[in-house]
Amino acid sequence: MVEGRILKVSGPLVIAEGMREANMFDVVRVGDDRLIGEIIEMHGDRASIQVYEETAGLGRGDRVVSTGAPLSVELGPGLLKNMYDGIQRPLSTMFEKYGPNLIRGIDEPSLSRSATWEFLPAAAPGDLLGPGDLLGYVQETEVIRHAILLPPGMQGRLLSIQPGTYTVTDTVGTLERENGDTVPLTLMQKWPVRIARPYREKLPPTEPMITGQRVIDTLFPIAKGGTACVPGPFGSGKTVVQHQLAKWSDVDIVVYIGCGERGNEMTDVLHEFPELTDPRTGRSIMERTVLIANTSDMPVAAREASIYTGITIAEYFRDMGYSVAVIADSTSRWAEALREMSGRLEEMPGEEGYPAYLTSRLAQFYERAGKVVCLGADGRIGTLSAIGAVSPQGGDISEPVTQATLRIVKVFWGLESSLAYRRHFPAINWLSSYSLYKSRLSDWYTAHISRDWDKQINECNSLLQSENELQEIVKLVGVDALSPTDRLVLETAQSLREDFLQQNAFEDGDSYSSLEKQAALLSLILSFYHKAQRALDEGASVQAIADLPVREKIGRAKSLPDDSYVLRYSEIGREIDAQLAALTAAEEEAI
């Protein structure tokens, strides 16, 4: 064990001497309070240590002890439904034991050592097992069956395995390695957070992640195993979008990282998620959620670690063959934590004071996402999707974090304050956002939703694009200067914006919209447009078409409940026909 002495303290950075024997990224305990830190730079005898807790009270000459192990997370049953801080300490347990405020130097195991789990073996003694092979199962929550796998790097012959009730540290079986050593097997394993967990092969993503959000699923879809970012100025609804994704996405596991954000937002998640039911399983969505919270008043260095802690936990579930989504709010705070440490290390700054390695660190994070063939003999396929919010300063997306992120991720949902001011939510700009998965996913949509899918989306896009151009003209010369056809385009685009793209996260019927309902609603609006075009040709006036009472019904169609919308939509369809026919008939009579 290496022991050194503190030489200098600067905020979360501590420099210690006498650390020659320590290794890069070793976890160290600093001072008499045994604060947790990590070595991030070695220079001869001196080590720079980022300390994950408030450093007030540390002084020169205080002891620094290396543990000799890198920063790791504990992986095993008990992760779900829990909330952890940036270095995976369980916040609820800490609240019960140490009171409502966070004090320093707490040592609390991530996974409860007293909770017991019912273990069912799936392998038999004598089996030859390799890394990632299945040992057995633990039913962790009603919806999630936690697969216990042989950790990466281990292989050999299984000597014994016993069903029964165990804590995470109890021995459930033993393995004989090729060199003859026997290793006890437990439900829990450890993994260093900065190293991506291995898999056998990466595959291109081909299936959409259905989020129940119309503007996302229809216009800018994300694939399972894909990456996306949500940049937006404050007040544009980033957090609501992220919460919506965490609530409604059709993935098996969600890891939600609150990175440098508000404490009340995490509390909101903690209070709200247990009450919400997953539309697919009918169970509380908390049963598939892991929360990582480093709120903005918690120490900065742990913010840097929180992202890695979260994605490592996500990879662990991916290795079981689940589809997992990591949602990080917000990666800008993580980048700022990097910047703060870099500044204190007196490194040469890159753009806007961010370190030059910002881009490569971001790329490393997002590259841990993907659709993979997991380790193990059965060739399970797991997906890990990563979605990061970005908080550009002043809403200006030309800043380094947004630009570095955009070079890596495939989906860009750009939030805009002007839309938010008009209470158009989600405030995703339909002209500047993009998804590079569109063409890859179009086969899936064509096969599962409708053959016209691509055509309808293109029409929707071109209507919104023409509206943008026509608005320019209207601003110059007024709406009267437009031809009736163009005015109909404006009316339809408005309807698309208000009746389709807008979605109220706080209204029960509207918060989640199934893909079938999205498709039906879109074709309802477009069919009105086509029929109105025909009526226009037959002499009806634009104003009369715009004033039709059925349009109000279209406006309310989005909040119809999932079980009855089919019937009501066809009724509305018939009303459209009837009212337009009446209009043209009246026109003919007038002539």
Binding site: G11, E54, A56, M83, L91, S92, M94, F95, G99, P100, N101, L102, I103, P233, F234, G235, G258, G260, R262, G263, N264, T267, D268, L270, H271, A293, T295, S296, D297, M298, V300, E336, R339, E340, G343, E352, G353, S391, Q393, G394, G395, D396, S417, A420, Y421, R422, R423, H424, V474, K475, L476, V477, G478, V479, D480, N504, F506, E552, G555, R556
Partner: protein
């Protein structure tokens, strides 16, 4: 402590006796465990329509006022301190007031206003004037927050913390940072400005372990009214919304000149609705927002093209926007409207528009509340 005036370092400056301490906590505080927080959802009636109706304040929220030089933010803050009530109870809040680097006159305005209304008896003041040392400015808000935490979490009181002016605080922080030769971030402010502000703002809230709460209203003046300046920008990323004052409205004589469109309260959705305010609150709120936004667009168009170029509907919207500013926004600093008055006024203004435009309001609510003529 209540009723007393202290310096920025916590020394009494009102000529009274020294405090005999019951506790001497560290003014830097410790972060609240998110698992121990209670979600703020109790409606606070401030008596100001634009806040109650559209940007609702709840107990335990941190809602800053973004202002500019020469705008009446002090009057607004004093009005909130005077009128803030939780419904079904007449008990006011204990007020902790931190003056950070403001002039004597501004500080005097608050003190005499509190004295005039008798609020001084439930107020603790920490005063750091512009002439006091800058370094004290860094401790002033922390002194005030520590006092607030004591009142809220040890004494179970409901505390309203008003801090003015955060811009002076950030300048003091920059001064100290420059003296320490630290690498500057944007506009010379230190790179840890976000973290530093967050450790103050995040001390607002409620805990599940007690009944007290800290509601925080920091006031900051935006240099050149620029919302993207680092101080308002970083504040906006931490706080739960913002109230923005507009120079245009002030020139038009709207008091308080709250610009409702960019203003926002993130916690409003949980604090309104049946049992808290009234069932029609959420719908009318969204409808007023979107109608006012459309009305303002129509008015801009009118400036370019003249009134004749507008469709009849847009003309109605333009009229709605005018009436909205004249009657809903403008109410003066001494009118105290109940939430029912605010909601009814909202309906009255919405009835300028045709009923078919009320797309944000549920049909049954629309039938029940739509004014019969």
């Amino acid at each position: 402590m209540l009723g007393r005036v202290f310096s920025g370092m916590g020394e009494p400056i009102d000529g009274g006796a020294r405090i005999i301490p019951e506790a001497t906590p560290d003014i830097n505080g410790t972060p609240i465990n998110p698992a121990a927080r209670d979600y703020p959802d109790e409606f606070i009636q401030t008596g100001i329509s634009t806040i109650d109706g559209l940007n609702t304040l709840v107990r335990g929220q941190k809602l800053p006022i973004f202002s500019g030089s020469g705008l009446p933010h002090a009057d607004l803050a004093a009005q909130i301190a005077r009128q803030a009530r939780v419904r079904e109870s007449d008990a006011g809040f204990a007020v902790v007031f931190a003056a950070i680097g403001i002039t004597f006159e501004e500080a005097d305005f608050f003190i005499s206003d509190f004295k005039k209304t008798g609020a001084i008896d439930r107020t603790v003041l920490f005063i750091n004037l512009a002439s006091d040392p800058a370094i004290e400015r860094i401790s002033t808000p922390r002194m005030a927050l520590t006092a607030a935490e004591y009142l809220a979490f040890t004494r179970n009181m409901h505390v309203l913390v008003i801090m003015t002016d955060i811009t002076n605080y950030a300048e003091a922080l920059r001064e100290v940072s420059a003296a320490r030769k630290e690498v500057p971030g944007r506009r010379g402010y230190p790179g840890y400005l976000y973290t530093d502000l967050a450790t103050m703002y995040e001390r607002a809230g409620r805990k599940v372990t007690g009944s007290g709460s800290i509601t925080m209203i920091p006031i900051l003046t935006m240099p050149e009214d620029d919302k993207t300046h680092p101080i308002p920008d970083l504040t906006g990323y931490i706080t739960e919304g913002q109230i923005i004052l507009s120079r245009d409205l002030y020139r038009k004589g709207c008091l308080p000149p709250i610009d409702v469109l960019p203003s926002l309260s993130r916690l409003k959705d949980k604090g309104i609705g049946p049992g808290r305010t009234r069932e029609d609150h959420a719908g009318t709120m969204n409808q007023l927002f979107s109608s006012y936004a459309r009305g303002k667009e129509a008015k801009e168009l009118m400036v370019v093209l003249g009134e004749a170029a507008l469709t009849p509907l847009d003309r109605l919207y333009a009229r709605f926007a005018d009436e909205f500013e004249r009657r809903y926004v403008h109410q003066g600093f001494y009118e105290n409207r109940s939430i029912e008055q605010t909601l009814d006024l909202g309906w009255e203004l919405l009835s300028i528009l045709p009923k078919s435009e009320m797309k944000r309001i549920k049909p049954d609510i629309l039938e029940k509340y739509w004014p019969k003529k």
